[in-house]
């Protein structure tokens, strides 16, 4: 079934079940993303793809990668409010993504576009940057596409980490599928597999890692 909705002031047609992000891509409107991958199920954690939707006169902010299009929906992919959300999200995420005082790749590009000051919160940030933004693309790709379940999350909140499971990580040497996915380049640059020697989940949970 075809659905008609308004995207940035234009009438757009989409198929039922599509997300706003997919419909926008078909319509040639770019919405920035950090955790989205077209082969993976929507995860909705980077929130960079946030857009404004208006329904029955009520305006909400939603993650376009997960919100299904609806007949008559009004969507704005850029607005002062959206731009501000993206700018501050980038300023926050820059702290953990930082390498030698700068960010790289998509984050750098977006930071420029949204005039994000990547050093804004630096003076309060007391942790060593992990260079990982926990977008989960590696974890989900390994689960959903490769089917090896060699990477997973451990820890909660600011202690959350993506880690290789050592008893399964042997396949990684030949697979390397996640290397190209990593938006900050942490996996290809640091994964020499020496790091993961002798690693165990128990060690992590015991706070030894």
């Amino acid at each position: 079934m075809t659905i008609t909705f308004q995207l940035d002031g234009k009438e757009v047609k989409a198929r039922e079940g599509m997300t706003i992000l997919e419909a926008a891509q078909e319509a040639g409107i770019k919405i920035p993303t950090l955790c989205y991958h077209d082969k993976l199920k929507p995860y909705g954690v980077c929130r960079i793809c946030s857009v404004e939707v208006e329904r029955k006169g009520r305006v909400r902010i939603v993650a376009s990668c997960g919100y299904p299009v609806e007949q008559g929906l009004v969507v704005r992919t850029r607005s002062p409010r959206i731009d501000r959300i993206r700018k501050i999200l980038l300023e926050l995420i820059a702290l953990t993504a930082m390498v030698n005082g700068d960010v790289a790749g998509e984050i750098k590009k977006l930071a420029k576009e949204y005039v994000a000051n990547i050093h804004r919160f630096e003076s309060h940030f007391k942790t060593e940057p992990t260079r990982c933004i926990l977008c989960g693309q590696c974890v989900r790709y390994c689960d959903e596409i490769v089917g090896k379940h060699a990477i997973g999350f451990v820890g909660r909140g600011i202690d959350r980490r993506a880690v290789f499971f050592p008893e399964k990580a042997k396949v990684c040497l030949t697979c390397r599928a996640c290397f190209d996915l990593c938006p900050t380049g942490k996996i290809p640059s640091e994964t020499d597999f020496v790091v993961f020697d002798g690693f165990s989940i128990d060690d992590y949970l015991a706070g030894k890692l």
């Binding site: 954690v45 919100y67 959300i85 702290l95 953990t96 909140g157 600011i158």
Partner: protein, 646 residues
């Protein structure tokens, strides 16, 4: 469960016969001593006291027909625990000790004499109060949901049935159609007690009408707000009331399978729930063909694993599925697509417990209580700087002032009320000037706070509002699952900035940074934990911005609570060298001698506040100084100035 244990009830008639049989065995004039064994009273040793009563009754040969001891759930007046109530006179003894037991048995139970010293004393009038309904703490409440706790042994279904329990279930199942039950709940305007205040009837209807089978109904008992324990006390003290509501809801929705999600940290709630389900199954309130109605329903208990965020609907449902308890995007409501993608209706403990009352007394009765948009009562846990801490149930629309002063008995030590935090870490602080606000879902939201599940933390003039925000933000930072960026990184940064401000390292631009981050968290977080987590920071900024500015610009904590910004100083003109602070200082930072003015060695001082608290009010020599230079210590050997006797 005596002779009925092998017989499932199969009709309303049989339920009524059982109720009459239970009641006929009970003499309403027989003295019953109930000992509160809620969490707080248990911490005071009430289980031992209950055991002692049972033993003492046996020792004094009063057991059996003469008197009976009963361990009940929480009565609510935790401040005065252990609480003991003797029926039928309703004599209430507070702060009962083990050694009081023989006297209570021989004097009160055997002879009906009241023991003066164990009665509650009204701190204002000094009057001793005999009956618990006359104590102001109870008198100003409306205990519909919570009131049965004091009569019921939560591990005995007979007690619940004797109080009219499961009559709403039989009414719903045998005299009403599912549609009629749903309509009654919709008409009652009951709103979810877990925090959001979503209309319960509409939620039920959404699940009922959603395509897909099976449909699930779930009890959310993952309460975890700091200072909140309403759901715990209800689940521990009267589990059958929640179960009865759940079964009625399942019938209305057309669900045959339910879950009760109990958090890991509530072992008694877990045990009592398991016991309640077992007994309800034996009686035929659960299982196949309930009360001969043809309706089948089963329920399982799911135990949490210690994560606050699992109280969020999609996270809770993931946990029930056996996955990590993390929220998911839910642009399709869990009421439509929840557990295993099936329609799942999740309500809070207190919401379910309201249902039997609405079915029994009708939507019109429920609508007669409360305000225009918030009907019925709400249970609050009243904690913090308030005289009568405990669990209170009040009609919606009662003002904060009535709650804090009439029921809570005001602020201890004659201090000034400053603010009240409602709604737990997702709520906000409400300052003194709004103390006459009626408690109502919408009124509290208008002030930037929320009803939440009912945690109510009262704060006095010694509470620093920046530190309060730091505390709640740190709590959420610990409890965030870390999945989405705004919540994880936003909370991390808010916590760092607020900690820096409290430590005197605040910088220009910090307030704007807090506001920017908080706004993005509200707008863009994945789940309600993130969208509401910044509320404590935003409300303290809204109402106490001057305190933030004082911390940042003047390096001064107006409440003199932030250690890094506060120093302790002994006024040489007031010190009488009484030696009390000297003896109590844990770090030996206080120097001085007999007749020699005392002084504090600042490098050794850990700012524990002990000297300030122990200095006798008639001397009032210890001062807390913030934002001003510290006066130099007195010259060595300065003698005490004594007023000459006239």
């Amino acid at each position: 469960m005596k002779d009925m244990s092998n017989k499932r009830l199969s009709s309303v008639k049989e339920l009524e016969e059982l109720r009459q049989e239970i009641l006929s065995k009970r003499d309403p004039d027989k003295p019953i001593i109930t000992v509160c064994t809620g969490t707080a009273c248990q911490a005071y040793g009430s289980l031992k006291i209950y055991q002692e009563f049972a033993d003492e009754i046996r020792k004094q040969r009063l057991e059996g027909a003469v008197v009976e001891a009963k361990a009940t759930g929480c009565h609510g007046f935790c401040e005065q625990g252990p609480v003991v109530v003797i029926f039928p006179q309703e004599i209430c003894y507070v702060k009962v000790k083990l050694e009081d037991v023989p006297e209570v048995v021989s004097a009160t139970l055997a002879q009906g004499q009241v023991i003066e010293r164990l009665l509650y004393k009204n701190p204002v009038t000094g009057e001793k109060i005999t009956k618990d309904p006359d104590i102001p703490f109870y008198k100003n409440q409306m205990r519909i949901i919570f009131g049965n706790n004091r009569y019921i042994n939560p591990r005995e279904i007979d007690d619940y049935i004797a109080r009219g329990g499961y009559s709403a279930l039989s009414r719903a199942l045998l005299q009403m159609s599912p549609k009629e039950v749903l309509d009654e709940i919709k008409k009652s305007n009951l709103r979810g007690r877990g925090g959001g205040g979503f209309p319960t009837g509409i939620k039920w209807e959404t699940t009922k009408n959603a395509p897909g089978e099976p449909k699930y109904v779930i009890v959310n008992c993952d309460e975890g707000d700091p200072g909140a324990y309403m759901d715990r006390s209800l689940m521990e003290g009267n589990p059958h009331s929640v179960l009865e509501g759940l079964i009625i809801g399942a019938y209305a929705i057309g669900s045959h399978e339910g879950f009760i999600y109990v958090r890991q940290e509530y072992p008694i709630a877990f045990e009592n729930t398991i016991q309640a389900i077992k007994q309800a199954e034996e009686c035929g309130f659960l299982g196949e063909n309930i009360l001969g109605s043809g309706f089948d329903f089963r329920v399982k208990v799911h135990r949490g694993a210690g994560a606050f965020v699992s109280g969020e609907s999609s996270a809770l449902m993931s946990a029930i599925e056996g996955k990590v308890g993390e929220p998911k995007m839910k642009y399709i409501h869990t009421a439509v697509s929840g557990i295993k993608g099936k329609p799942s209706c999740l309500n809070n403990v207190e919401t379910w417990a309201n249902v039997p009352h609405i079915i029994n007394k009708g939507a019109a009765w429920f609508n007669s209580i409360g305000t225009d948009n918030s009907k019925g009562t709400k249970i609050f846990s009243l904690v913090g700087k308030v005289n009568n801490t405990g669990l209170v149930e009040v009609p919606m629309g009662m003002t904060l002032r009535q709650l804090i002063y009439d029921i809570g008995g005001g602020i201890p030590k004659g201090k000034k009320f400053k603010a009240v935090q409602t709604g737990g870490p997702s709520g906000g602080v409400i300052p003194e000037r709004y103390i006459d606000t009626p408690i109502d879902f919408d009124e509290l939201t208008k002030l930037g706070s929320m009803m939440g599940s009912g945690g109510t933390v009262v704060m006095d003039e010694d509470t620093c509002m920046v530190d309060t925000a730091r505390y709640f933000i740190s709590f959420c930072c610990e409890e965030s699952c870390g999945k989405c960026i705004p919540c994880r990184e936003g909370l991390r940064m808010l916590k760092e900035i607020l900690t820096d401000i409290c430590e005197g390292k605040g910088q220009e631009g910090d307030i704007e940074a807090i506001e920017d981050i908080a706004k993005v968290m509200q707008d863009a977080s994945l789940c309600a934990l993130g969208t509401t987590a910044a509320n404590p920071a935003l409300t303290t900024l809204k109402y106490f911005r001057n305190e933030y500015e004082a911390h940042i610009k003047d390096k001064r904590c107006p409440a003199k609570a932030c250690k890094a910004l506060t120093s302790y100083y002994i006024d040489p003109e007031k010190c009488t060298a009484c030696r009390i602070c000297f003896r109590n200082c844990p770090t030996e930072a206080i120097h001085g001698d007999k007749n020699i003015v005392h002084w504090i060695e600042q490098d050794k001082c850990i700012k524990c506040n002990t000297c300030f608290e122990v200095c006798p009010p008639r001397f009032n020599a210890v001062r807390r100084i913030s934002g001003q230079p510290l006066p130099p210590p007195p010259a060595p050997g300065t003698k005490v100035i004594r007023e000459k006797k006239r």
